[in-house]
């Protein structure tokens, strides 16, 4: 603690500034920066049969880039990203516009009901949907019985990724809706009055006033969704216990890194996969942000 009056005020104030930030920085350095640096270090070594732990340069990275298991998982999350994220964000956008339009009965209830799944722990969401997907105790079994044929088959090779996409959409559509809705609430009323004076109809107001106002929030929602897709782990890893033959231990890159570090004890390679995916996520998030802000000029 600085002693008041002994030093010039600017220095005293500057030291106080540091003292407020210091607790965060201490934990941040230990539980964020240090693990990243340690993993970078690990990724440059390899446990050799002869000679123990040896420096191998970028050999782990070249190994990962030619590893079919890694590419299999990376390709799957890219496909997931390309299909699930647009659907989820489109539904979220439609819901936010509908709630903001003031044309709904039960607007408040709608908003809260859509948002509640976000509070449900991911584990519970997956277990719940996993049970419902099941033939034995679930809704799918009942539906197929009622229809007299196999209408839905979530636990098959063709449909399991769609089944995962449905769970993720269920969990996050309300969260994204709220991000977009919060942005719509910040639109100044004069803009709507001006549009009304110009005789603009609802669709024109959406196109000319609301969508431009949503740009920043849409970029944020897109970035969060991209990060979520790339880091896909909870849903497939829990469904694995219900459908072990459909979901391999390298189904997504995160599952691969987890299984390498944990069951495989290949920690150097696990660190490499984690770093590649972290960098890839950050780069894509950055590109989305750049593109999004450029259009604003």
């Amino acid at each position: 603690m600085p002693v008041p009056g002994r030093r010039p005020p600017s220095l005293r104030v500057s030291a106080a500034g540091w003292s407020f930030v210091a607790p965060f920085l201490a934990v941040f350095a230990f539980a964020f920066i240090a693990p990243v640096i340690y993993s970078l270090y690990l990724s440059l070594f390899r446990d050799q049969l002869m000679g123990g732990n040896q420096f191998v340069g970028f050999a782990n990275y070249t190994a990962a880039f030619t590893d079919p298991k890694f590419w299999d998982g990376a390709g799957r999350v890219l496909l997931f990203l390309a299909v699930q994220v647009p659907i989820m964000l489109f539904v979220a956008l439609a819901a936010a516009l509908a709630i903001d339009s003031g044309r709904l009965f039960g607007k408040r209830f709608t908003r809260i009901a859509l948002f509640v799944p976000y509070a449900v722990p991911g584990v519970v969401a997956v277990l719940m949907w996993g049970f419902m997907y099941g033939e034995r105790i679930g809704m799918v079994g009942w539906l197929n019985d009622a229809a007299g044929s196999q209408v839905l088959a979530p636990f098959t090779k063709e449909w399991i990724l769609v089944a995962i996409g449905n769970i993720v959409t269920w969990e996050f559509v309300g969260y994204n809706m709220l991000i977009l809705y919060a942005a719509l609430r910040t639109v100044p009323g004069e803009l709507y009055e001006a549009a009304a004076l110009d005789g603009a109809n609802q669709w024109r107001v959406i196109r000319a006033v609301k969508l431009p106002a949503l740009r920043g929030a849409l970029i944020i929602a897109t970035i969060f969704s991209i990060i979520g897709s790339f880091q896909l782990f909870n849903e497939p890893s829990i469904l694995q216990s219900l459908a072990p033959t459909l979901i391999s231990s390298s189904y997504t890159p995160n599952m691969y890194a987890y299984n390498l570090s944990f069951t495989g004890r290949q920690i150097n390679y696990a660190a490499t996969v984690a770093i590649i995916m972290g960098v890839l996520t950050a780069v894509i998030a950055y590109v989305v942000q750049l593109r999004g802000t450029r259009r604003e000029d």
Binding site: P4, L127, V173, A182
Partner: protein
């Protein structure tokens, strides 16, 4: 509210379309609630969205609380510890740090700011494996600290607090306190803290929900069942139930899931208006 000059007519068609979406959001939870009232042997035999002939909710709850010597209660206690220490710490550090960055000019401030903003883009899941590798080298894995310490870091929380503190606390107020000879920390506790309260509640909500629901981090860090939070414990019951030659305990997983959801949904509904203000603040500057 914001544009009330010409109240638009309500649309039945739009309401029906949105009701479909509301049903999609709520029916799995309804299924879960109904299933929690059924004994295990009726789970498959009755329609999922209606109660079965036998009302077994209280029997199920009793069994959840006593199964394996009452380990569910222990998991609940562990979760509370992780939330109080981890999420509590994250909120405290984010509030102090965001305030410091917003209201003080000091050497290295820009470097700190750039680092934290960069860290917001790094997802927690990407960090779990690297943190596990370092913690296992240090012998920290399989302790409560291995979950608490990483939870205490919330770059996004710090960012939200910075946005909030920049707008909520007038700099003149701090200068007036300085002229009166008050120390900086004293000013923080007597004046600034009260103005920061709504922002602190918002950040607390984000990190409490994230901690209550966290799966990847405790899964990779903990192997001792006695240290599990609820999320991992439930998943382990489910895994036990589906293994070869295992006794299925689906009714316990389902009823346990209801008991896990209830506290967090209650907190969430009570304080949900803070989410919107937090999201607006984050969105406006981002």
């Amino acid at each position: 509210m914001a544009h009330s000059f010409a109240r638009p007519r309500r649309s039945v068609i739009l309401t029906i379309l949105m009701a479909g979406l509301v049903a999609y959001s709520l029916f799995p939870l309804w299924w879960l609630l109904m299933s929690a009232t059924k004994p295990q042997d009726l789970l498959g035999d009755s329609f999922g969205l209606l109660p079965a002939g036998e009302f077994a909710l209280f029997a199920n709850i009793t069994e959840v609380l006593t199964h394996q010597d009452g380990i569910f209660v222990r998991w609940f206690g562990n979760t509370v510890v992780y939330v109080l220490a981890g999420a509590g710490g994250a909120t405290l550090f984010a509030a102090l740090g965001g305030y410091g960055l917003a209201k003080y000019r000091f050497r290295g401030r820009n470097a700190v700011f750039a680092t934290v903003l960069g860290a917001v883009a790094v997802p927690g899941a990407a960090l779990a494996v690297p943190t596990f590798l370092m913690f296992s080298e240090l012998g920290l894995t399989n302790t409560m600290w291995s979950v608490i310490l990483p939870t205490m870091v919330s770059p996004f929380g710090l960012y939200l607090m910075w946005v909030f503190a920049s707008e909520a606390i007038p700099t003149e107020l701090l200068e007036a306190a300085r002229v009166d000879g008050a120390g900086e920390w004293r000013t923080f506790f007597t004046i600034s803290l009260r103005l920061l309260a709504p922002g602190i509640v918002t950040v607390a909500l984000f990190v409490i929900v994230a901690t209550w629901n966290n799966y990847f981090l405790p899964l990779i860090m903990l192997s001792d069942k006695n240290l599990f939070p609820l999320a991992i414990g439930l998943a382990s019951w489910n895994a036990d139930a589906t293994g070869v030659g295992a006794t299925p305990v689906f009714h316990l997983v389902i009823t346990g899931a209801v008991l896990t959801i209830l506290p967090i949904v209650a907190v969430f509904l009570l304080l949900q208006r803070y989410w919107q203000s937090g999201l607006s603040a984050g969105g406006v500057k981002g």
